[in-house]
Symmetry: D2
Amino acid sequence: MANLVRFGVSLEDALLKRFDQLIKEKRYSSRSEAIRDLIREELIKKNWRSGKEAAGAITFIFDHHQSELLNKITSIQHDSHSLIISSQHVHLDHHNCLEIIAVKGKPRDIEGLFNGIKAVKGVKHATLTITGKGGEW
Amino acid sequence: MANLVRFGVSLEDALLKRFDQLIKEKRYSSRSEAIRDLIREELIKKNWRSGKEAAGAITFIFDHHQSELLNKITSIQHDSHSLIISSQHVHLDHHNCLEIIAVKGKPRDIEGLFNGIKAVKGVKHATLTITGKGGEW
Amino acid sequence: MANLVRFGVSLEDALLKRFDQLIKEKRYSSRSEAIRDLIREELIKKNWRSGKEAAGAITFIFDHHQSELLNKITSIQHDSHSLIISSQHVHLDHHNCLEIIAVKGKPRDIEGLFNGIKAVKGVKHATLTITGKGGEW
Amino acid sequence: MANLVRFGVSLEDALLKRFDQLIKEKRYSSRSEAIRDLIREELIKKNWRSGKEAAGAITFIFDHHQSELLNKITSIQHDSHSLIISSQHVHLDHHNCLEIIAVKGKPRDIEGLFNGIKAVKGVKHATLTITGKGGEW
């Protein structure tokens, strides 16, 4: 477990009152827990911009009846196998599949893989979400 | 397969030239493919705001050594079992796990589940990404 | 001046170290100042979603040679005069103007005005940015 | 006026139907107008990432009773006078002012100015919004 450090913060009382209300709505157990989340969110954005390694998920929907689509997606994933940790696949309905790929690597490489998947004909929507790679905080 | 409809678009030539360059960089096979992507992106934002059912992914990192964390996360997921399609779990390092849950449901319910997970002590970062539920386009 | 309240926050030491580095890069004078900013950002997002009055700015670029454009934009602004506080106008080059409108009102009304301006033929790009209306914290 | 070029786009009919509905809601006069907006939005994001010159607005709220705040903000603006085109100032209530600065320059410089303003004690919230600098499309 990490060592905890304690320090004081001063806020305007009106601001603190509204923050406490937000904490309640978002179901945080303490102010520290909520503040930690805000800080980590900022750090993840900063790391991404500065090119540091990150983990994340590429989520996309596609119509598996589109010819050659499965082959293309599989081939793209194999070309980036070192970035991909694992994937899960969901059959949404008769036509549509949802696939989520867990990734880990440099922002530039993850974005390359993301653009490659997004551009395949038959991929209807793709998103990229980024988190830390663990261990940095 | 869906029926394709064809229509004409007029653009300023300077704008089209830059768009064609973007298409090349993003590796799209045609202008239509790139335009479809821009449109679907807009529609997904609109559906989410208007409360229509969507699919998506909740991604989070946590330290599995934090006491009671696994029990709490499992319990939260069971309470929302009707929203959750499946999940994948990755061991990032000795301490940290990455978990990605595929979800489907109303925005309000998905956000409730997301806030619940995010607020658990020991969950270091959580993101929510939304896509269509397939079949709507 | 608002009353300041002081409370303690506990963070993992690795997280605090990175936060202090971020504070230095962003030139904040204290941890409290940085934390206030993170909290206000969250509150502004929440207020906007829940429909509470806000202030903000609508920024757009247009080609003033486009026929009827100035008349249309002026007419749209007059229809929403109660939302608009003031505007500034910049001549970017021979063709292009940048206009920034300071607004105050309900999210739904501000978005209506924004969509109206964005849709005018000849408006090349429009953005909407939201802040508090002052006085709430 | 710019030369218009016309080309054909093919879309799935279900997608086009929903797009036409979105166009109606957002009050666009034609599909071309809506598609132009989506494309410009993408191009502006791309230009910003690649460091090309842009125009934009820095919007912030502050309490003018905070000692030394006006001097600090004015001093920061003078240090970046080559980036700043003009500014407008609104008295929101007895305590709070809204100031909007129209800027033009390199992303790195604009972000530096933005961080400088955001970090001043008494500045309660600041946003940065970016558009094109005109003339590029």
